[in-house]
């Protein structure tokens, strides 16, 4: 019975194990080891006998060990008993690596054996699966043929580490460090289970494959988001630059931009940029973090981003409120033009009239040029809300007239009136042909304040009208579906007539007359 200090005990245990390991190939290992153990015990006893404290210290053990000699020194004198060491120590065996497995650890095991990084082998196998599926078959064969490295010595053989005690100790320490690291990072430590059944292993592997697929899927999704987000960021920067002045200022005359007051434009563009840019940036960074685990996001940085974003949002809200307050008051401006009297009027719509004479010169437009097609559809992305309304009414005075009501919004009545005056609307009478422009334009640098033109065409009873199909979208009366006879040839113009009850479709008025005589 001996007392021994903990570290001394540990050293002694390792030393004894080393000795056992050293003589393990010797036929008489038990006897030799017993002799050595007895001798060590005896020497330690002698050490104890000389003093009062009855515990063996580290120094005692070290002294005894130096007398007995290091294990490495044993071998030189007794080589005839040893197997050639190279064959045993450092010999590699092919196992499947259960610690680093993606499916069954075949690639990880091969990587130890061939000294190639496992990921390249995995890529190779994956590619060969696509190239006719040979890799899949080979993998299954390897899986069945190669045993998994389960015990510690098997795992060491797999890595080609010598299976002496130093190797054991180092391996154990590495494993412990890996375990601690995995505990800190929150991942569950993978305890390799001893599975005897191929099918058990297969099901576990299928689970891992699904897990892996999910991981790959989420990672590639994150990657796509990161790439798309990156392009969005670049696009945002480019459009900010454009809005801040690199683009021609004509852009501000189109509808959604024309809402913004001229002196708000830069700051609002910048604000809008920040409001959009920051969330996209955050998304990209998050996606990058999902794709590459290593990317760390500075907390201070993200808080800064959040604060800047909130500030940008509040600035945006402030300006939005200011702009919307400019829609508070409504003003109207009425202008009545007398028309020359004709029994029949032709109502036309001309899109070319949107362009003023200066535009026509700029764009080399010529009235009557056959190939000129300008803005034939109204599906323009920046289409101004419809702002021209036409109403046809009975004239009480018996004289034809056209009344134009120019309307606009503003912060005060005065401002609204100014905005209404900014309306530039084209209308033309050439004999009995009345030509309307489909939309109003604003004089230069005017901003959009819901400007509208309400045209009221007043005609005496009995006046006939030929209304172009193209006008119907702008007409402000309800029964504009004027059905003509199917037999009649198609005409762009539909005939209407003004009666005491208002405007009637001539074809419909004619119908009862046709029916009665028959």
């Amino acid at each position: 019975m001996m007392h021994i200090e903990e570290d001394a005990y540990e050293t002694l245990t390792i030393y004894l194990n080393e000795i056992k390991q050293h003589f393990v190939k010797n036929a008489d290992d038990v006897e030799i080891v017993t002799d050595i153990e007895n001798r060590l015990a005896e020497m330690l006893n002698e050490k104890l006998g000389n003093r009062l404290a009855k515990a063996i210290t580290q120094e005692d053990v070290e002294a005894v060990m130096s007398q007995m000699g290091r294990v490495q020194d044993f071998g030189t004198e007794e080589e005839q008993f040893e197997q050639p060491e190279e064959n045993y120590q450092g010999a590699k065996k092919l196992y499947r690596d259960a610690d680093d497995q993606m499916i069954a650890g075949v690639c990880a095991g091969l990587s130890h054996y061939l000294h190639i990084d496992a990921r390249w082998l995995r890529v190779l196998f994956l590619l060969s699966v696509f190239l006719g599926g040979a890799g899949f078959l080979i993998y299954i064969i390897f899986w069945i043929a190669i045993p998994p490295a389960l015990s510690r010595s098997e795992r060491m053989e797999m890595r080609g580490e010598s299976t002496n005690l130093y190797g054991y100790k180092r391996h154990f320490e590495e494993e412990l460090a890996a375990y601690q690291a995995s505990m800190e990072s929150g991942h569950a430590f993978k305890v390799p289970l001893r599975r005897n059944n191929f099918f058990q292993e297969l099901f576990a592997a299928i689970g891992r494959v699904i897990n892996l697929l999910f991981k790959v899927l989420s990672k590639s999704l994150a990657g796509i988001i990161a790439i798309a987000g990156f392009f969005i960021l670049v696009g945002l920067i480019v459009s900010l630059a454009a809005f801040l002045g690199f683009w021609d200022t004509e852009a501000y005359q189109y509808f959604p931009l024309s809402i913004v007051n001229e002196n708000f434009r830069s700051i609002l563009a910048f604000t809008l940029f920040l409001v959009l840019f920051i969330p996209v940036l955050a998304l990209v960074m998050y996606a990058l973090r999902v794709t590459f685990h290593t990317l760390k996001i500075n907390k201070l940085f993200s808080f800064g981003l959040l604060i800047v974003w909130l500030a940008a949002v509040s600035v945006g809200v402030y300006y939005a409120a200011r702009i919307s307050s400019e829609f508070k008051e409504h003003a109207e401006l009425e202008q009545t033009n007398a028309l020359k009297s004709f029994p029949v009027y032709v109502l036309n719509m001309d899109k070319n009239m949107v362009f003023n004479r200066k535009d026509s010169i700029d764009y080399a437009l010529q009235a009557g040029a056959e190939r000129t097609i300008i803005d034939d559809t109204d599906n323009h992305p920046f289409r101004v809300p419809r702002n021209v309304y036409i109403q046809i009414e009975k004239s009480e005075s018996g004289k034809p007239s056209l009344t134009a009501n120019y309307e606009a919004q503003g912060k005060t009545f005065q401002e609204a009136l100014v905005q209404a005056k900014n309306i530039d609307y084209k209308f033309n009478q050439a004999d009995n042909v009345l030509t309307f422009s489909p939309r109003l334009s604003l004089t230069h640098h005017a901003i959009w304040r819901n400007q509208e033109v309400h045209l009221t065409l007043k005609l005496p009873v009995g006046t006939r009208l030929k209304i172009s199909d193209r006008l119907y979208d702008y007409l402000y009366f309800y029964y504009h579906h004027c059905a003509t006879d199917d037999a009649a040839p198609y005409s762009e113009y539909k005939e209407w007539i003004m009666t005491e009850e208002g405007l009637k479709c001539k074809a419909e008025l004619d119908k009862p007359q046709d029916v009665v005589p028959n």
Partner: protein, 120 residues
Amino acid sequence: MIAENTQTQMRKGILEYCVLLIISRGEIYASDIIAELKQARLLVVEGTLYPLLTRLKNNGLLAYNWVESSAGPPRKYYVLTPLGQEFLKQLDRTWDELNYAITTSQAGANNAQGANQPNT
């Protein structure tokens, strides 16, 4: 490296001879053998001795008796077997031959050196 290897080979045979010589004088304990070897300046660690003793015993050259010890577990005291004594005699003769061979060779080498370098 080559010198080391040769030295190791030389010592190995001689160690075995010396151990047998020490044991031939009578029953002896392993650590006493070490002490004698140290005295003979054939320095080894104890760990080396046990495999050697075990091998010699298994070859029938040695035998041991268990002797109770006051300081711990019973000790093995080694003695030569008749076969061991016979083996030792052979080694004696071999040693004499080797000794003669070495002395002669060394004398020859020294003479040759002396002839090449006349006295100053």
